[in-house]
């Protein structure tokens, strides 16, 4: 197992290195001055010379890359070209907000997707399977930005059940400490925390459900395909021959084996989730990374784009590698395959 972990982590390091290289070279690809693109300090700014030297632009490219890495680790991520705010400060508030939404959506997707997929596979080609298969295909085909608008119109405007923007009613005096609203409420010293939690819950429920749709139906599809495959496997018959009941066969053998490829696909579902979080945050005015990134691309705010993409890509890669590790940890067969290579 430790071999697998070391191998996967080194893989992660290599990919992160590649991504940082990509992010670094983006300063050159963007139009304009690379120093400004990397740091957000305009060329006529008094601090320009200082930054120019600090980023190693007076030296060769390798030195520049090392300086870039150093400033990354020092938390000197430059400033936004639009409002001169420190990218690191802004990011450390926005990333938790995004993660909060992402984690909740992923949890919803995980609670609904795989069980539905397994039910569909259990009743393969029966009406219940066909209904689930169709819903999952339809859900997979609904553009998230359309779904978000339609749900807003129905649930917020017509039914008036939930609010439509932000993390919480701003009248609650919750200072942004971590950026994640639920954590912030817990940390804050306001009275009536429970009411604040309820308010935040109402704010997050709609975007989270909208966001969960795509990964959820994706997981339904993965799980269904995998479970159909597994249920045709001989060991299921073997388990029946051992005298196990259907429930025992399903829960002890079929479902764990079904989840083996699905664990791997978690990272795919997560990628889809991250793609959609960009759009969902814009629509629900969620003060997260996606909202910020989309606007900075629109405004060509290069330091923000550069670092925002770096962070998102790193998160996806990390989740991917951890899905691999999780799979290897849970499934000896996979471990075997990793060893064999």
């Amino acid at each position: 197992m430790s071999r697998v972990i070391i191998r996967q982590l080194s893989l992660l390091l290599i990919t992160l290195f590649l991504i940082s290289l990509l992010s670094f070279s983006m300063s050159y690809w963007f139009p304009g001055d690379p120093v400004t693109n990397a740091s957000g300090i305009p060329i006529d700014h008094p601090r320009y010379e200082e930054v120019f030297e600090k980023r190693g632009f007076d030296s060769n490219i390798a030195h520049q890359y090392i300086s870039y890495l150093r400033s990354l680790f020092e938390g000197d991520w430059g400033q936004s070209m639009q409002d001169n705010s420190e990218i690191w400060d802004e990011l450390s508030l926005r990333l938790p907000a995004t993660l909060e939404l992402t984690v909740i959506a992923l949890a919803i997707a995980l609670c609904i997707g795989p069980p539905l997929g397994i039910i569909a596979a259990k009743y393969y080609r029966k009406p219940i399977d066909q209904v689930i298969a169709f819903i999952s295909l339809a859900g997979y085909s609904v553009p998230v930005f359309w779904l978000a608008q339609v749900t807003i119109l129905i649930f917020a405007v017509v039914l008036d059940v939930v609010p439509i923007a932000g993390q919480i009613n701003p009248l609650f005096d919750v200072p942004a400490v971590s950026g994640s609203i639920l954590i912030d409420i817990a940390l804050s010293d306001i009275d009536h925390k429970w009411i604040a939690f309820q308010n935040a819950f109402l704010h997050i429920v709609l975007p989270a459900i909208v966001l969960a749709t795509a990964p959820c139906v994706l997981l339904v599809r993965f799980t269904r395909a995998s479970a159909i495959h597994v249920l045709q496997q001989k060991f299921v018959k073997g388990a029946y021959a051992r005298g196990l009941s259907t429930a025992e066969v399903m829960f002890k053998h079929a479902i764990p084996n079904t989840m083996q490829p699905v664990t791997r696909q978690l990272s795919t579902a997560f990628s889809v989730l991250v793609t959609n979080v960009l759009i969902t945050e814009v629509i629900f005015s969620w003060p997260g990374l996606g909202n910020w990134l989309v606007r900075s691309i629109y405004e060509r705010d290069f330091p923000v784009i550069q670092h925002g993409l770096l962070v998102l890509a790193s998160i996806i890669l990390t989740v991917n590698v951890f899905a691999n590790i999780l799979q290897a940890w849970r499934y000896p067969q996979v471990r075997q395959e990793f060893y064999a290579r």
Binding site: P170, I195, N199
Partner: protein, 544 residues
């Protein structure tokens, strides 16, 4: 069986959570939610010209020396109890109130009330380059540069602890109007000194201290700006405990937020929604004829817009009546001059901007652009009183110009970067406008179209014409209204001839609020004042 029980209890919990969560607020979170169109650029009205920032800062945080009373059409005392003007119209004396406390917050505890030092400190900031705060936050004071007030004022001095004297270099009929505008707010010299001692002068414009009805609490970019009541406010405390500006750049979103009670007040509701919003019981719609003009400015520094004929051709190419019906839904009147029709100096020149594609084509031919060209139209990304939907307007103009062989790209950025790029003159042409800051007609000429305005980055046409400059300068130096009027008429004729800007519409300003909001006044000039606004108590919100 157990599975069934489990599912039952889970669904019960979920249902309970959703239904149990109503949106009622605990008592300490009572307050008014105002949906603003964008982030404030700074918490200092001196630094900005955008109405969004003015709405969010000026009247909420600060006070001015004097105020302009819309109904009586006269100036009223504010921080200055009374004032006097010398015989030669060059010296103005203001006697200050003695009982005006500054905000006391986590970051600043005032030791004294407002006095003459504060006024001198505030005026000298933009007046004197050697002032320690002059260069902080960019060193640009667009309104004062554009009105040439920085050239006009010789000195601001404290004649006693509570008396200030402003000395002018030459007489100026618009001074009181300017001092009553939302930009001329008074700040704390003591706070400035404290920050200088701490070595953090940039905080001055980020965590403001004023004398106004609300105190700065905290601001999160793109989310919300929170104010709390200033209990010792000299006019008496504000009606509402909390005041929150939610940042919601999208007008449709703001309208929906008003419907879902995510906002209590929404300025500039979309024109297309006015009609049915007005019919709703729970929405209160207010209008005001605040003087404003939407216009289309050409960057006269750039070819081909440096050619008068091209500008005239473009002016004739667009159908402004169609724009008004499609964009404003007829909640506006066609503008035939940059000066609003409510002003006494108004002199319309409809002929110059008549819709005549044939004439436009001829003019383009004469200018040598018969085969057409491609240009950018920048559409302002936010809704302003003068233009509810610049993007839609740009699309209509696009199709109009297509008819005379001009291709149009529509360009739009986020508001603050949009304004910065405009100031740099990166645009070909821009759809923008102006809302009056004060009652004087000068407000529509000097801040917008003079060479000084070009220098301050406020002249969207990048236009500089000496004759025009002389006319408006002469107008401001005379006290006599008929003389001024004739100067202004000549100035408007030059504009009709030169066409640096095409005036489009004077619109009606709308403001929508929930029915449980009371004390809301439609604003006349400059920023809105929310001091007397509060929620009606004892109304069960959201319940029929």
């Amino acid at each position: 069986m157990t599975t069934k029980h489990f599912l039952c209890s889970v669904s019960l919990i979920v249902v309970g959570l959703v239904t149990g969560c109503n949106r009622a607020l605990p008592p300490e979170a009572e307050g008014v939610l105002y949906c603003a169109e964008g982030n404030p650029e700074a918490f200092n009205p001196q630094l900005v010209t955008s109405g969004t920032t003015l709405d969010m800062t000026s009247s909420q945080l600060f006070d001015r020396l004097i105020e302009y009373n819309e109904s009586s059409r006269e100036f009223e005392s504010s921080l200055a109890e009374h004032w006097s003007v010398s015989e030669d119209n060059l010296r103005y004396r203001f006697k200050l109130r003695e009982d005006v406390p500054f905000h006391s917050t986590d970051f600043f505890h005032p030791t004294r009330n407002l006095n003459a030092q504060d006024v001198v400190f505030t005026f000298n900031r933009w007046l004197k380059p050697e002032h320690p705060y002059h260069e902080i936050s960019g060193g640009q004071y667009p309104f004062f540069t554009a009105t040439r007030l920085d050239q006009l004022i010789r000195e601001v001095s404290a004649t006693s602890s509570h008396e200030v004297e402003i000395t002018l270099r030459e007489p100026d009929s618009s001074l009181l109007s300017i001092l009553a505008s939302s930009f001329a707010v008074i700040m704390s010299a003591e706070y400035g000194q404290q920050l200088l001692n701490q070595g953090e002068p940039q905080q001055f414009d980020l965590e403001p201290i004023g004398t106004g009805p609300f105190k700065f609490s905290h601001f999160r970019k793109d989310v919300a700006l929170n104010y709390v009541r200033h209990d010792e406010y000299w006019k008496g405390p504000a009606a509402s405990e909390n005041l929150v500006f939610r940042i919601a750049p999208n007008d449709h979103k703001r309208m929906l937020m008003l419907l879902t009670q995510d906002c209590d007040i929404s300025p500039y509701p979309p024109a297309r929604d006015i009609a049915w919003l007005d019919e709703r019981e729970d929405i209160h719609l207010q209008t005001s004829m605040s003087p404003n003009t939407a216009f289309w400015a050409f960057n006269t520094d750039k070819a081909p817009f440096n050619d008068i004929k091209v500008r005239q051709a473009l002016a004739h190419a667009i159908d402004r009546d169609a724009l008004i019906s499609a964009v404003y839904f007829d909640h506006a009147v066609r503008a035939d001059s940059i000066l609003p029709n409510t002003s006494w100096a108004h002199s319309p020149t409809p002929e110059a901007f008549r819709y005549d594609p044939q004439r436009a084509r001829e003019l383009l031919d004469e200018a040598g652009y018969g085969s057409g060209f491609t240009m950018d139209v920048w559409a302002l990304p936010v809704q302003r009183a003068y233009n509810p939907n610049a993007r839609l307007m740009a699309e209509l103009i696009q199709s109009n110009l297509n008819d005379i062989g001009v291709n149009v790209n529509i360009v739009s950025y986020e508001w603050s970067s949009f304004r910065r790029s405009l100031a740099e003159g990166a645009h070909d042409s821009v759809l923008i406008g102006w809302s009056a800051d004060h009652a004087d007609p000068d407000n529509f000429f000097r801040p917008l179209l003079t060479c000084a305005a070009k220098a301050s980055g406020n002249n969207r046409a990048m236009w500089c014409n000496e004759i025009f400059d002389n006319l408006v300068t002469n107008a401001i130096r005379s006290i006599d209204r008929p003389t001024r009027e004739s100067f202004y008429h000549q100035a408007q004729d030059i504009l009709a001839q030169e066409v640096p800007v095409v005036p489009l519409a004077h619109s009606i300003r709308f403001q929508a609020s929930r029915d449980y909001i009371q004390g809301l006044q439609p604003p006349a000039y400059g920023g809105i004042n929310l001091r007397s606004v509060s929620k009606v108590a004892e109304i069960e919100r959201g319940e029929p």
